[in-house]
Amino acid sequence: MTRLAYYPGCTLKTKAKNFEDSTLATAEKLGIELVEPERWNCCGTVHSLSTDDVMHHLAPVRNLLRMEELRDAGKVDSRQVVTLCAMCYNTLKRSNTVFNTDSDRRKKIRDNMYKEEKEYSGNVEVVHYLETLREMGWDKVKEAVVKPLTGLKVAPYYGCLLLRPRGTGIDDTDNPTIMEDLLEALGAEAVGFAYSQKCCGSYNTVHMKDVVADLAYKILNHAAEEGAEMLITACPLCEYNLGPMQSEVEKKHPVFDSIPVVYFTQLMALAFGLGEEATAFTGNTPDPRPLLREKGLLEE
């Protein structure tokens, strides 16, 4: 077992429990122990776009300090911290970059970091679970597959935060392949589509449901037109806007067929044969299980 520091994020403990459950199960299967620190706080959600943003870096940098404390305590084997939520990944990674490259802001962040016994050194590497898998090797993932997802056509939906800005993204900003590679290792068929990197509408979902419904309609329809039967995502907000928000899409666009959206880790758990608790499909709307049963990938 390799022990890696793990930052869950608030949503993974509430609305996206299925993301966490499926991840922890697949990681264990791959010989990775994800170690959650006792103390952590909100990642900071959304990297500030203003230049006067020192306060917005306190939350992410404090989390990075918690990860460093885990390493100092000998509880993990690496300087990496694994994230799942694309938003948390993006926020933590960008703050880490600011901290390590901008000495002026680093000083201000440290000056306002109340009540910490030690200072953050900057020596933590923020990675996404997809990167952990790629680093480990797709052949290793393939070895863990007991039930290949043969015949399942899946559109990888990247959204914004996994890829942008350049330098923060986990893969090529314009032509990413990391999710396609994963799908191939799982035995599924990756379906490319033009809207795979289009924004889902993000927080507009709170007060401008219309905007999100239109974006979701385009994204989902384009994927379906290319032959996709479901989509995968790495972001709880994308999952919400593309999944449960399909009820809003249906209101606005009467000619629309619903299509399941799941976390990539749920398909991993399915292919690894880890059972219901690990796949956690009960947490998804619309329900992906009828399709998976139809495809012979899930027992009745």
């Binding site: 608030c10 403990k13 509430t14 103390r39 952590w40 706080n41 909100c42 900071g44 306060m55 917005h56 306190l58 939350a59 404090r62 306002n112 970091m113 109340y114 009540k115 910490e116």
Partner: protein
């Protein structure tokens, strides 16, 4: 008043006083002639009525303390915060669910927390205030309840929070949710309630209610104190 301690200089709302250096802020203020009509309660560090902020001469740090607990230091500039204006929402505990949505519904400003930890720095009880605010935000009601358990609602966290959260009310909601939905009723409390209802203590209560002030003083001063 006789006192062998060395005298120190404190400033109460800007006015200079020489006071014995071994007094608490509260006693020092009384020594200097102040009479507390607000901002004093149990005098034992339990009630949270005597929240006080101070700066020491030559320091930029604004610090918080309970006046009845903190011993004066030379050069302290002291101001009391006997009341902190705070939004306290009302709710029917029976109709709630112990999760993040409930916390956010009643205290939506929770989501403005920046994790700056100013609240923790301000807390005279050494509670990890920011950590329980964050636990509330992610629906970890048990953690929020346990971390906030020693809170005495003095209000210092609330007046210092840049996100204008009132942590002590958040903690109180979390503890109520924890008690009702997660921890559940304690058997010893249920047993005691039954005893009360059966009238086990009626005789004793009646005796106390009829007792004279002298008898009550006698009983109080010689009471059994269970330190366990």
């Amino acid at each position: 008043m006789e006192n062998n301690a060395e005298y120190v200089t404190i400033y109460v709302m800007g006015k200079k006083h020489e006071v014995p250096g071994d007094l608490t802020i509260m006693k020092a203020m009384e020594y200097a002639g102040h009479q507390f009509t607000r901002g004093a309660g149990c005098r034992g560090g339990f009630c949270g009525a005597c929240a006080t902020i101070y700066r020491k001469k030559g320091s930029y740090k604004l610090e918080g303390a309970l006046a009845c607990q903190k011993i004066v230091e030379d050069g302290m500039y002291i101001a009391q915060i006997p009341f902190s204006p705070a939004e306290k929402t009302t709710y029917e505990l029976d109709e709630l669910r112990p999760d993040a949505n409930t916390m956010l519904e009643y205290y939506p400003e929770l989501s403005r927390c920046l994790a700056c930890n100013t609240c923790t720095k301000a807390c005279p009880q050494d509670i990890m205030v920011m950590d329980y605010v964050q636990a509330s935000l992610r629906g970890d009601i048990e953690q929020a309840a346990k971390l906030s358990f020693d809170c005495i609602s003095c209000g210092l966290c609330a007046v210092r929070c840049p996100a204008e959260i009132v942590p002590y009310n958040v903690g109180q909601l979390a503890r109520r949710l924890y008690a009702k939905y997660i921890d559940g009723p304690s058997q010893h409390v249920l047993d005691r309630v039954e005893e009360v209802e059966e009238g086990k203590y009626d005789e004793e209560i009646t005796r106390l209610m009829k007792a004279s002030k002298e008898e009550l003083s006698e009983l109080y001063n010689n009471r059994e104190i269970d330190l366990k």
